[in-house]
């Protein structure tokens, strides 16, 4: 009775934060997964976050890392910097040492705070490309291929399968900083490899793109890169196919998943390719263990059918990297963990592939991206099938952009 009253009291005091903490004897390692579940990123955040939490549950089920358990602090920020800041400050006060916002505006708003507060922010597959420069962005870790690296991996694939020179490549993108992000790298590449690049922007959120595609068709591209997210992606694929562009020639940024295929029509989308940073499906050992130890006992954080989807697996991989960093940190720096120690742990990650879930990454104090590797996979009607090996491409071009961006950031100080 007293317990209930105490807890109710705590709730009404909005001290909801301090909840449940009192009962834990040992402080777990806390990760702040403060993401946008209700606005722009809903297409990914549900499955992504589910994967993250399931992986942490798995680790905890397996006894944690050297006896340390993990706890996820999950809050919705609604993609608003405002709420992101509050959630960040609160989670920080609760002791979180790693943050994943999965929202460009919130991440942007908090870059400075993270650097100042010396806690880790991971921006897997979505964050600003120049944050790969670990010497400027000490505490920011993209940990996976940034959009720049994704563009180069896709370009490399095109080059390997028919060459780039003299070809016409269309970049059809959502008209936002995210959509325009691959442009500089692709332009550099176009100059170097002598292909014709043309960018076509459609207004956000992209549910109507017909005029753009009439134009794209007349450009007669050999390949089309579609650079959007959420509802705009299936529209792009449909419009491309409708305008006579063979599915095989359509390449997408990482944000094209099973739901989109279902949306376009599983058969129609057959042949479309995308970049992937993490393999899909449940064949990998980690996913098998999640199924056995988390999903079957009913500890999963959401709908079991999501296990193994593209976004779910990306979520798993992000946490795999983070836990690996924590393991390194505990080993070399000792408990209790802090943001600084965790950073050191990240920078010790070497050839880590999460048991085959992702390409082997090596993070150094200089390179926080971890190599920028990925691969191209193709929709075969039921699933995504890899059509290339893990690897990175033209990292020197990417590096040029990284340096340019991080220099500008430095000067902004």
């Amino acid at each position: 009775m007293k317990w209930i009253i105490q807890h109710l009291f705590a709730v009404t005091l909005v001290g909801a934060a301090s909840f449940g903490v009192a009962s834990a004897q040992e402080q777990p390692i806390k990760f702040g997964l403060l993401q946008d579940f209700t606005a722009v990123y809903t297409f990914v955040s549900g499955e992504y976050n589910q994967g993250q939490r399931d992986y942490l549950t798995l680790i905890n089920q397996e006894g944690g890392v050297e006896g340390h358990k993990f706890e996820a602090i999950v809050r919705d920020t609604g993609n608003q910097p405002q709420r992101g800041i509050e959630a960040y400050n609160r989670a920080k006060e609760e002791g979180a040492i790693l943050f994943d916002f999965l929202s460009t505006p919130v991440s942007r708003a908090l870059v400075d705070s993270v650097l100042k507060d010396k806690v880790v922010m991971i921006t897997p597959v979505h964050g600003r490309g120049d944050a790969s420069d670990g010497e400027v962005f000490h505490y920011v870790f993209p940990t996976m291929a940034t959009y720049w690296s994704q563009a180069t991996v896709l370009a490399k694939y095109i080059e390997d399968h028919g060459g780039l020179e003299g070809k016409r490549i269309a970049l059809v993108h959502i008209d936002s900083p995210f959509g325009r992000e691959p442009l500089p790298v692709l332009q550099d590449l176009a100059a170097e490899k002598k292909f014709e690049l043309k960018a076509f922007g459609y207004p956000s959120p992209g549910n109507e793109q017909s005029a753009v595609w009439s134009e794209v068709r007349r450009f007669r591209p050999d390949s089309v890169l579609i650079w959007g997210a959420g509802g705009g992606q299936p529209v792009s694929v449909r419009e491309a196919i409708r305008n006579g562009i063979p599915a095989e020639n359509i390449f997408s940024v990482v944000w094209l998943a099973e739901t989109d295929a279902k949306n376009v029509g599983a058969d129609i989308m057959k042949g479309v390719k995308r970049f992937e940073a993490v393999s899909t499906g449940t064949d990998t050992p980690i996913l098998q263990r999640i199924k056995a130890k988390v999903i079957e006992p009913g500890l999963g954080a959401g709908d079991a059918t999501h296990v193994g989807t593209s976004y779910y697996n990306i979520g798993v991989a992000t946490m795999a990297v983070a836990v690996e960093a924590a393991r390194n940190a505990l080993k070399s720096e000792g408990a209790p963990l802090t943001g600084e120690k965790l950073k050191a742990g990240f920078e010790q990650i070497k050839d880590f592939s999460a048991e085959g879930l992702m390409p082997a990454i090596t993070i150094t104090a200089k390179d926080h991206q971890g190599g920028g590797a990925g691969r191209v996979s193709q929709w075969n009607g039921q699933a995504w099938e890899p059509v290339s090996d893990w690897g990175s491409a033209y990292q020197e071009l990417v590096q040029k952009e990284i340096t340019k961006g991080s220099q500008a950031f430095k000067e902004g100080k």
């Binding site: 449940g20 939490r53 999950v74 910097p81 405002q82 509050e86 460009t104 961006g405 500008a408």
Partner: protein, 357 residues
């Protein structure tokens, strides 16, 4: 009993027009001001930085907007764009090396100039059409910011505030920023109260109530509508700059998006159109309720009171928030200020039940 208005006599015109003619109100204000001044010593950094500080700045923004919507009756659904202009102007000026004080002034002027352009629509239409026109303008401003890298700050579209100081005091510490925001909010509140009791405010209200009758007593609707837009955009611009320098410490387009405009209108309405105390209450409500709800819902879920899917969990605050706004409009359209006023009136005439106004 609680408000002793019997025995309060005014022997001079300006006494009768004083801000708080009733002593009990003066006491309340004094207590609130003391609390506000002592806040940095009472609150933890989390509450000071993530609650009190943004609350003050958003209150200032709400007051700026309610000057326009409440007093002058000009609906504005693009006020975030006005604030964005202030924020971007100030940050570019500051990065250029202009002292912060002047950057603030510049922010106000730039916002006022462009804000007055918004007002041009108000000279043609009112009501719903003005809502639509300002919405469209918000969109245009957003588009320009997003598509001109020189404004938005290049590919990443993020501009960080350079280290600055106000009247030689560095803005690095949270307390200083809090006091700056407090000073601005208080200044705006006083300004607003003075506007309400002077000819300027009366002219604005006159135009809101009946523009033709205003014209016939010599008020130029054209001039005063523009002046209303100008003034409110000026203070809105400064508030935008303060938001950037004191709170976000960086500017990105999303901070001033379309939904922020909607939130501002919600703040004005939930607080109560044209009310000062409503400005503070409304800003607090709209700003803090979603945050509190999010924490509350996840707190409940974490302790096992609420067993629902995480997806629903995330959307629950959104639903409650929407329902709360609806509830307010349906049950107390005059907002929090009216609720406060009702309570005050109840005590004013206590122990009697009815008053006439």
């Amino acid at each position: 009993m609680f408000y002793r208005i019997a025995g309060v006599y005014h022997t001079r015109y300006d006494k009768a027009r004083a801000l708080w003619p009733v002593p009990a109100d003066r006491w309340q204000i004094t207590v609130v001001v003391i609390f506000a001044l002592a806040a940095p010593f009472l609150l933890s950094d989390l509450y000071l930085g993530s609650y009190a500080l943004p609350w003050l700045i958003w209150s200032a923004a709400t007051l700026s907007l309610t000057l326009l919507m409440g007093l002058a009756g000009q609906l504005h659904f693009g006020f975030a764009a006005v604030m964005a202009i202030g924020a971007y102007t100030s940050i570019h000026l500051a990065r250029f090396g202009v002292p912060f004080e002047f950057a603030l002034l510049g922010a106000g002027i730039a916002s006022a100039a462009i804000g007055a352009l918004f007002g041009a629509a108000a000279l043609r239409v009112k009501g719903l059409y003005l809502v639509m026109a300002t919405l469209a303008m918000q969109y245009l401003v957003d588009w320009v910011i997003n598509n001109v890298p020189a404004i938005s700050g290049g590919a990443q579209a993020t501009l960080r505030t350079p280290p600055s100081s106000f009247l030689l005091i560095s803005l690095e510490s949270l307390e200083v920023r809090y006091y700056l925001a407090l000073a601005w909010a208080v200044l705006l509140a006083i300004f607003f109260m003075n506007v309400k009791r002077t000819s300027f405010g009366r002219a604005l209200v006159a135009i809101r109530d009946k523009d033709f009758a205003a014209a016939v007593i010599g008020i130029d609707p054209f001039r005063y509508k523009l002046l209303a837009f100008f003034t409110s955009s000026f203070v809105g611009g400064v508030t935008g700059a303060l938001l950037a320098f004191c709170y976000y410490r960086a500017v990105t387009p999303e901070q001033f998006g379309f939904n922020v405009s909607i939130q501002l209108v919600a703040m004005v309405l939930v607080g109560g159109l044209g009310s000062i105390i409503g400005g503070f209450l409304g800003a607090g409500f709209v700003l803090l309720i979603p945050i509190i709800l999010t924490n509350l819902v996840s707190g409940l879920a974490a302790s096992g009171f609420l067993t629902v899917s995480s997806n629903l969990l995330a959307h629950l605050p959104l639903m409650i928030y929407g329902a709360l706004i609806i509830g307010f409009l349906v049950f107390e359209p005059l907002g929090l200020a009216k609720i406060y006023d009702n309570i005050r009136k109840y005590f004013l005439v206590w122990p009697f039940r009815h008053s006439r106004s």
